[in-house]
């Protein structure tokens, strides 16, 4: 699920359980099925309605009107495993998190089956404790999310009231950015992109990028440009190298083409695809 999903229904209430989870052979499924015998087509849609293993477990518990604090581990584990086996059979792309949860349930189950020794009990406590803590914690935020969705929000429930303002004479150099803002924006955007990319950027030589722009600019005014004309003696070896690297980069990015009409003849560059 993603935020880009479009909401076509007029239902202002965000309660998801009121929408059909699936329509199979014309029959809408508005509630979760009470047993596991779900038409396979519907299962996928139903499983997509879960936000993860904790969500699925909560559903299994709630379906039986059980208090989180009194989860019948054996029973819930059995059901949970049946669900994920079904997912597996249907080649539903099973997130690793579901398997981790299955393992955790199995572990709790086995610990509960072991005969208890009095002193061990004190140290380890109830083997369900950690799971219950996580379920409760998740449920709090699941609820909070539902509540946040109910809060009236801009554009969905109300609009900004605005009157037209004639901005003539209002222009001023107000939209100035300082270099610092720009740098911070760059740093943050790169921090968000993956590490490999930012690493690459760090080493990147801006003089090459600068030169790439100049080469492209030369091509905007003339259709073809003599390769040799890109170099100037005054810039020395360093300058020639930068130009050369810029042309290579542009070739790699399919931004320009090299043309040589005769062997050992003059090389020209031109915009790619023209």
């Amino acid at each position: 699920m993603s935020e880009s999903e479009t909401a076509t229904d007029k239902n202002k209430e965000p309660a998801q359980q009121e929408m059909p989870f699936a329509v199979v052979e014309g029959k809408p499924y508005t509630t979760m099925p009470t047993d596991l015998y779900i038409p396979p087509d519907a299962l996928e849609v139903i499983l997509e309605a879960f936000e993860g293993p904790l969500d699925l477990l909560l559903y299994l518990i709630r379906r039986q009107n059980l208090d989180i604090l009194h989860i019948p581990i054996l029973d819930i584990t059995k059901q949970y495993v049946e669900y994920i086996e079904l997912m597996h059979q249907l080649n539903f792309e099973l997130a690793a998190e579901y398997l981790v949860m299955a393992a955790m349930l199995a572990e709790i189950k086995s610990r509960m089956l072991l005969p208890k020794q009095q002193d061990e009990e004190d140290e380890e406590g109830d083997p369900r404790a950690e799971l219950i803590r996580r379920l409760q914690e998740y449920e709090r935020f699941k609820q909070a999310a539902e509540e946040i969705d109910q809060i009236p929000r801009l554009d969905r429930d109300f609009q900004v009231a605005s009157a037209y303002l004639d901005k003539q004479g209002f222009e001023r150099d107000d939209e100035t950015i300082d270099l610092r803002d720009l740098m911070m924006a760059f740093k943050e955007v790169m921090a968000r992109a993956d590490l490999k990319v930012s690493h690459e950027i760090e080493r990147e030589v801006l003089s090459v990028r600068d030169r790439m722009g100049l080469v492209l600019e030369a091509l905007m005014s003339a259709k073809t440009v003599r390769f040799g004309s890109l170099f100037s003696k005054a810039e020395g070896k360093q300058g020639a190298l930068v130009t050369f690297l810029a042309v290579l980069e542009l070739l790699k990015a399919q931004s320009l083409e090299l043309v040589q009409n005769t062997p050992f003849g003059e090389i020209y560059i031109k915009s790619a695809g023209q």
């Binding site: 935020e3 999903e5 904790l54 998190e97 914690e137 935020f141 946040i148 109300f158 968000r192």
Partner: protein, 200 residues
Amino acid sequence: MEVSELKHIIEAALLATDEPLSIKRLLQLFPEQELTSNDINQAILALEADYQGRGVELKKLASGYRLQTTEAMQPWLLNMWQQRPKKLSRALLETLALIAYRQPITRGEIEEVRGVAVSSKIVHYLMDKEWIRVLGYRDVPGKPAMLGTTKTFLDHFNLTSLQDLPSLAEIKDIETLEPELAFETADSEQQTQESDEHEE
């Protein structure tokens, strides 16, 4: 300057800008008048009263005052527009809830509570909307970013401060559990019931 004139200027300013205006910004309207925050407050109160019972209301938000249509107007307004506003997915809302209530929080911590990976798409969307931002970096290996909500988030959700968010549910005490008694019997009962059901 008379209160009514002050009120009209403030009203025009609120309607001429899209973002909420703070008292401080409203004072900028009057660089040559010797006005205090109190004068502005007076005018705001009068304006608020003027809008009583209409389709537009004056609302106090995290970053200032905003004139906005009332919720009652929305069904009418929707008749005029083709597009309906997008819904927010549960994954996004849960992520946002965790950031709002638990800030500063890292992505890893969000994943711990939700039990699933947080998609980058959601984080990017929230950043782009300027509902969340990086508050700093935690001093642990990998230096994960600590996320928090912004004033823009509060403004968008009609809130003055984070305290206006509904309170989180209580956590029930695990100590009240009585392991020996509770599960053994309940479990086996439930289980038989369940397996009967499935044999049909």
